[in-house]
Amino acid sequence: MTPAAGPFLEAQAPSPDAARVKGLIAHAGTRRRRLEAATGYLMILPALAVFGVFVFYPLARAIWEGFYETPPFPTEPSRFVGGHQYASVITSSAFLESLWRTVLYVVMTVPIGIVLGVALAILANRKIRGIRIYQTIFASTIATSTAVASVIFFTLLNPEVGLFSYWLGIHGGTGVLGSPTLALPAVAVVSIWQNLGFTFILFSAALLAVPEELMEAARIDGASTWLRVRQVIMPLLSPTLFFATVIGIIGAFQAFGQIDLLTKGGPANHTMVLIYYLYETAFVNDNPGIASVMSVVLFAILGILTYVQFRVVQRRVFYGN
């Protein structure tokens, strides 16, 4: 084909060559279409190969393995039990308790995390001297991973030498993380803190999209701060609120690192959330059969949440804004 003459963007009007090229294309129609299709398949092949091997195949296999009971001794073959294992796991008290603790964890982390994120974003959404420093500080926890945040708090909550333990008047004993009543709330606090940077940035970005005139108009109207927040800012933030809520719930269902590093599911299963129970069943107790059932339940819950979120976000992107 003809080599590109001159900078690409200047080729506005079709050149005389173009007509000839067009004619050629029409003749070579079928062959060209085949070549084009081959190009398309080649381009998506790498991604589809990864999805096939590491998403679709394992998903199907997890559903399938839920039908097989893991034998008590690894030498025996696993036994097909049909839907029986699904029914028995889902109705077992250990499973239901882990699900309940996960829900508790969601309730402890998501609303408070969002309220704090919105409050900080509104507080810092003013062009005043030094505001950049505050914004950077509020966003800073995004640099901490789950593991980093967990190790920091694990050390600060250490009953022997931890600073927080000292402030709480705890010395020795099991400490906060060893307390049946305080362990889950403590893990929740760590998660809220770790996610605060992300939530703050998310809502700050959303506030940037609020027209300045609207805020000014509300101010001149004499609306109090609270009224302004409730009647002007909140409706405009509602898509972001929805987004933050859904990914907050999804994130809470996936909370594994903080449990592993802070409590390992203890004390006495008081922080044994669904994902940690799944991990223990699969990799500590070596029972892939039961763990597969839990995987399928986890997939069902998170899959539905993701689907709902995607539909809503898509609608906003395509029909709104």
Binding site: F8, S15, V21, A47, V148, F310
Partner: protein, 300 residues
């Protein structure tokens, strides 16, 4: 505050009595509001920053100084020994190297596969496109945690257990990346595509010479989020690694916890080192970060 709106208000009466010019009274109220905002901002900033601050401080103290009561908040004589110990005895250098290799591998792979697939789904014509795109979107609904048991078995079968392959290859494609890049390629002006075709540009050349250069900022934002996700992974590396030679720094922190209270300053130093690369990255690419969040559902 807004009482003037209702005609003669208490505020006005008060102002008349004190005989302050109205403007002045207003500025006093404003100054009070201003100070209140600064006070709130500062209190919140201290609360948010404190865990990070005390971690850095403690990493510069000796273990006995950390246990000292009342606590020490300012390291007057910083001691960098904990960092040396973290590298020498706690394998921090190896962990950081492993994390870097894994994260860079994943980012490069995800950007490449997502650009290709996103382009194909947007601008190349082929029959199975709708079906394959639906499948791609469907991957967003499958959390990694739900497939971890079979994936672990696959890795063992392939002989990749405890290797970089296990940490990188399962993450070489990103559904959200493909979706994102498809969106931007769909938004390319029709004239541009037509003109390129007339100039004899095939799909590969068009993607390389036009599609990628035009979308560099978005690619950068996606790469940043991809790196964050890869660097911070915890569950998967925990399940498929066994030795320090391939362990990433997040898992390494777990090992660090076991060094014990006598070396608590080493734990703090290790934590600082694990967070530092991300911190630097975020400071340098702050703009991309906010832009990425502005474009919507980047966090998959």
């Amino acid at each position: 505050m807004g009482t003037e709106a209702y005609g003669i208000s208490t505020g006005k009466l008060l102002a008349a009595q004190v005989e302050l010019p109205r403007r002045h009274r207003h500025s006093v109220a404003l100054a009070v509001k201003h100070s209140l905002r600064y006070l709130l901002l500062t209190v919140m900033a201290v609360v948010v920053l404190f865990p990070i601050y005390i971690t850095v401080v403690n990493s510069l103290l000796s273990a006995s100084q950390i246990a000292h009561r009342p606590p020490i908040f300012f390291p007057l004589h910083p001691d960098w020994g904990a960092y040396a110990t973290a590298f020498r005895e706690a394998y921090l250098g190896i962990y950081l190297r492993n994390s870097m290799i894994v994260a860079v591998g994943i980012v490069v792979g995800q950007v490449a596969t997502a650009l290709l697939a996103g382009y194909a789904f947007a601008l190349v014509r082929f029959r199975l496109k709708p079906l394959l795109f639906t499948l791609t979107l469907a991957t967003l609904m499958v959390p990694m945690e739900a497939t971890i048991i079979p994936n672990h078995q696959t890795i063992v079968t392939f002989g990749w257990f405890n290797s970089y392959e296990a940490l990188i290859i399962p993450f070489l494609a990103s559904g959200i990346g493909i979706f994102l890049f498809r969106q931007v390629f769909l938004q390319l002006p029709k004239d541009l595509i037509e003109a390129a075709r007339l100039e004899g540009y095939g799909h590969w050349r068009f993607l390389w010479k036009v599609g990628i250069p035009l979308n560099r900022p978005l690619i950068g934002a996606f790469a940043l989020f991809s790196f964050l996700g890869a660097w911070n992974q915890y569950l998967w590396p925990l399940v498929v690694t066994q030795t320090n030679s391939v362990r990433t720094v997040q898992i390494g922190l777990d090992q660090l916890e076991s060094v014990g209270i006598d070396h608590i300053n080493v734990i703090f130093a290790g934590t600082v080192l694990a967070a530092l690369p991300i911190f630097i990255l975020l400071v340098v690419f702050q703009k991309q970060l906010v832009r990425g969040l502005g474009t919507g559902a980047l966090k998959g």
